[in-house]
């Protein structure tokens, strides 16, 4: 089924709110130890929303979905992991 405009709007709104939310945490709150992990988790969810909905990956084969979920986990996990180890 073709992507519906209502769905696009919902995903767009979620992306905007997530972006603004994590920016406020990063820039305006005294950055707690868990701040970076939280920011990367939010980034991971945003990337997943774009892949699944805008790029319609949710209609794809399981292999492709798993591949990109793994990529998201590796990127976000690696950025957070290296940050906390530094």
């Amino acid at each position: 089924m073709a992507l519906q405009n209502k769905q696009i709007t919902n995903v767009w709104l979620a992306l905007i709110v997530a972006t603004l939310g994590s920016f406020v945490v990063a820039e305006y709150l005294a950055q707690p130890r868990w701040g970076v992990a939280a920011i990367m988790i939010v980034a991971a969810f945003k990337v997943r929303l774009i892949l699944r909905h805008f790029m319609e990956l949710k209609h794809a084969s399981t292999e492709l979905r798993v591949l990109f979920d793994a990529w998201i986990l590796v990127c976000a996990g690696m950025i957070s992991g290296f940050y906390y180890v530094a």
Binding site: L3, T19, M55, E56, A60, V74, I79, A86
Partner: protein, 201 residues
Amino acid sequence: MSPGRSPSDLAVDRAVPVSATPSIWAFIAADCFSFAIFFAVFMSERLGKASLFDESARRLDARLGLLNTLILICSSGLVAAGVAAAQKGDLSEARRWLWRGVIVGGGFGVVKIVEYSSKVLHGLTPLTNDFFMFYYALTGVHFLHYLIGLAVLFVLIRKTRSATIADSNTLLWINSGGIYWHMVDLLWVFLFPMLYLLGGR
């Protein structure tokens, strides 16, 4: 007379499944893999130089980075609407959304040029230190992808003009081109926090 036909005239009232665009997905996978390597190299180089990296990151204007993130998200949404319209067979509608996507997306380039100019004027160049070398390299590679993406969007707009109906070849182009543009967006979604926000305030 509008070149697009009304949806009811067309038999193309279905989405082109992802499996119909295997080539672009192979490309997306390869490109995402490359960027994962870039992220790993940046973060591993940061080990042992965290205070230098963080202090340098704080010299970036996170508000411009935020603005660019919001611009690409909006542009992605507009392009998604264009692709959806094409999938429903309405090429004129698709063209309108794609134009909006291009106009909003163009803002990213403007902000990037303003940002680079400002950095250079303050003496912050790729030669300043390791962080800035990575900053220019990573955002530069992303910017090249962005420019290619803009060119692709223009090609899609032309295809909505030249095609009289949303035939499978036109749809293949529009689906693939849209997917590429969304990739430009999602790569920035990781780049922005990694470069701009990790340093904190």
